[in-house]
Subunit: 180 residues, 2 copies
DNA sequence: TCGCACATGTAACGCGTTACATGATTAC
DNA sequence: GTAATCATGTAACGCGTTACATGTGCGA
């Protein structure tokens, strides 16, 4: 039995929502789980090819004559089983790397202004993410109200909202102290 | 001019606090910035060797006769300049990968109990991290009260505290809804 | 006709982890 | 005596990003 990596499971998961092309998966990952997951092109297409080769997904070329290439991948029963088994395993915690925090930790080596700028940036990013997630939440509730996925998708969005609210209040409290 | 990577800057930053051995750097990274940064052995020692080779750090073997090997690295002026320059650059945001959230997003493919377990784990982890960070905060305030690093170190710790408080309240609200 | 979005892929390179190799010292 | 910790390093492998290569369809 071949060993699958995280990219493979992310792809299987996406295909559990509905059949899609590689390009669609790419977009979906950016739009819906971009807040806590990412894949790059160089991983995605080879992953799809391997999943297809081993029967976790099937592939149909859905190009009308003369149309552009379009391969639609569909999850097989084998793929569903594999996904279910992976979902039952305790998630591995992988190392976090937050460069902004690293710089701040060494902040005494530079000027207060530079550190302040970095925190300002973080505040701005948190605010932007919050706006985006809040809009997404609203949209999801109206557009997916009958979907079995909705409760789980809301949990993920709410996690993002809470994380960014925390970031925002953290950065604002530092900025306010700095101005005094 | 040679191109340094993140590991090199993390090492330079650690040596800006005080001269240390590779082993000390390893420990310090785990203990003090482990909350938002990590390095592995396979990166650390080669990074130190390269920094030494190019004059960013100097190295003195501080082994008393018959004692175990112990190389103490010290930041040079060139190293300090390099660190300062890097600190002034806007931090790059690198892709986040949170496997627990990924599994939750695909939660509709498995049982509520399995998802509940994952969230329980997250709650437990957040609680443990909070306890650790709170203790660290207290210790820092008393032990480093005259250090120029203290304000920045507190910002980092407070960031961790706020993140984990958000995680905790998020997981608890889901668990409470689940029990109803 | 130009540029953008659609669409699929490969190659090269560097990053990061794990396991391995070695050996001294200290605590039980 | 044996296990844990101190201490330094290398090798192998897989992961992940970036840049490249190629071509279609559509709107301004």
């Amino acid at each position: 039995m071949i060993k699958l990596n995280k990219t493979h499971y992310a792809v299987l998961g996406m295909l559990s929502i509905c059949p899609m092309s590689g390009y669609n998966i790419r977009q979906m990952i950016k739009q819906s789980i971009g807040n806590f997951w990412s894949e790059s092109d160089g991983q995605l297409y080879p992953a799809l090819a391997l999943l297809n080769k081993h029967g976790y997904v099937t592939c149909k070329s859905a190009n009308k004559p003369g149309a552009r290439e379009n391969k639609i991948y569909t999850l097989t029963d084998k793929g569903k089983d594999e996904l279910r088994e992976w979902l039952a395993l305790t998630p591995e915690t992988h190392s976090v790397r937050n460069e902004a925090m690293l710089k701040l930790f060494f902040g005494a080596n530079t000027t207060p202004e530079i550190n302040f700028d970095h925190i300002e940036n973080l505040r701005y990013q948190a605010k932007a993410m919050l706006a985006q997630l809040t809009a997404m939440r609203k949209q999801l509730i109206s557009e997916e109200k009958d979907s079995a996925h909705l409760p789980y998708w809301l949990m993920c969005i709410d996690h993002g909202i809470q994380m960014n609210e925390a970031r925002l209040s953290w950065s604002e409290s530092i900025i306010n102290n700095f101005k005094k």
